[in-house]
Symmetry: C2
Subunit: 237 residues, 2 copies
């Protein structure tokens, strides 16, 4: 087995962004583990989550698997890019159902990733969560999505506090995308102007830099990804 | 049966603040319904929630009960004062469990109250949710609590938008207490300076004024309750 330069865990490793991250990290010679509902065949280890399990059941199952996969080894980064999108305001027939889904997909995964980071991150390692630029303001057309992402933003700030429970010198960030250039978004918004969509490779490369301790933003940053004319710039909040 | 001046639904009607609200509203001749895990004997109607039911099961059950209790009648106010408190940072043994509890107690109840308000609130009625002043900043010592309350703050703003799904002219607020003067807080913090705690009667009277369309803050307000030397003042965010 070739030597690796470090270990990364990707929560949501079978999603579009997660898959791109795993491929990119592997090419940089990192060992990469994936946590997701389905297996990522390229990952060095897979931890599968039962969609129908409670949050606490998911925690117990994941921590047990991590113990056997990692033992006493530590991680350079926990990257949580799990999540999804659902629309609707408070009068939508699916409002409660969609909000439930957003809490499960985004908040549960972020909370579990935070718990994992507190146990397995190396001192000075990073935890990255996924918020949304939209949730910095009101989101009446997608209320469940907005409230879930807003909770992740506040979680990020709490984790960055020296009393937030992460190992010494570890840092917590959230990325706040507008629209990611995923196959699903291409499929469902075929006429959209994709020059304002953020390429997944850009995000993976950004993570790689941070993991290598290059160009890290201040601890607790909410990092907006603003893409215009196919160029992405960062805006720190 | 005596004529009532209007109808109010209190979500969390068996808790300390909810009970005080119900007693206060009844004394003002409102019809008051309670939603909670346990019955409030003074309420005109009780809708009981099964603690172990999923969010979607709770929604189905509550809406079915509301249909039989209210029929085509509408509410002047939906007051959601359900919630709880749990501490811990990301490295706490109970971090995930406590966060789960905070999501259920605070976020689920607020989301269900929002759904109810979209269906049963009169035009110009009010929905009040319960946030927390602490969650306007980082909450490293009580991460689950903070992220749950932060999501309620953002939810409040989305609901106040004209496209948020509430009936025409309805308004959404959150109260942001610091510490409420409840029997539980008296019991667990026996040596605290209670002159900075907000009396439950103050909050009930504040709600009554808003319900009567007196001194309402701007739609979407996060209303901080600042108590000093037994005097409470409001600060709008």
């Amino acid at each position: 087995m070739a030597a690796t330069v470090g270990k990364i865990l990707v929560y949501g490793g079978k999603g579009a962004l997660g898959s791109t991250c795993i491929t990119s990290f592997l090419s940089q010679k990192f060992w990469v583990g994936s946590i997701d509902l389905q297996q990522n065949d390229f990952a060095n280890a897979n931890i599968l989550v039962d969609r129908d399990a409670s949050l606490i059941e998911q925690e117990v199952s994941i921590l047990k698997s991590l113990d056997s996969v990692l033992g006493s080894e530590k991680l350079d980064a926990v990257i949580c890019v799990a999540g999804g999108w659902a629309g609707g305001n408070s009068s939508s027939a699916d409002f409660v159902k969609n909000t439930d889904l957003m809490l499960k997909q985004s908040v549960w995964s972020s909370v579990l990733a935070s718990s994992i980071a507190s146990k397995y991150l190396k001192p000075g390692g990073i935890l990255v969560l996924t918020g949304a630029k939209a949730a910095l303001a009101t989101t009446p057309g997608m209320i469940g999505y907005g409230l879930a992402k807003a909770s992740i933003h506040q979680l990020t700030k709490s984790l960055a506090d020296s009393n937030g429970g992460l190992p010494a010198g570890a840092q917590a960030y959230s990325i706040l995308p507008v629209t990611l250039d995923t196959p699903m978004n291409r499929k469902w918004m075929p006429k959209a102007d994709t020059s304002t969509w953020t390429p997944l490779e850009f995000v993976a490369e950004l993570f790689t830099k941070w993991i290598k301790n290059e160009e890290r933003p201040p601890n607790g940053s909410l990092v907006q990804l603003n893409t215009k004319e196919n160029k992405t710039t960062l805006e720190i909040a």
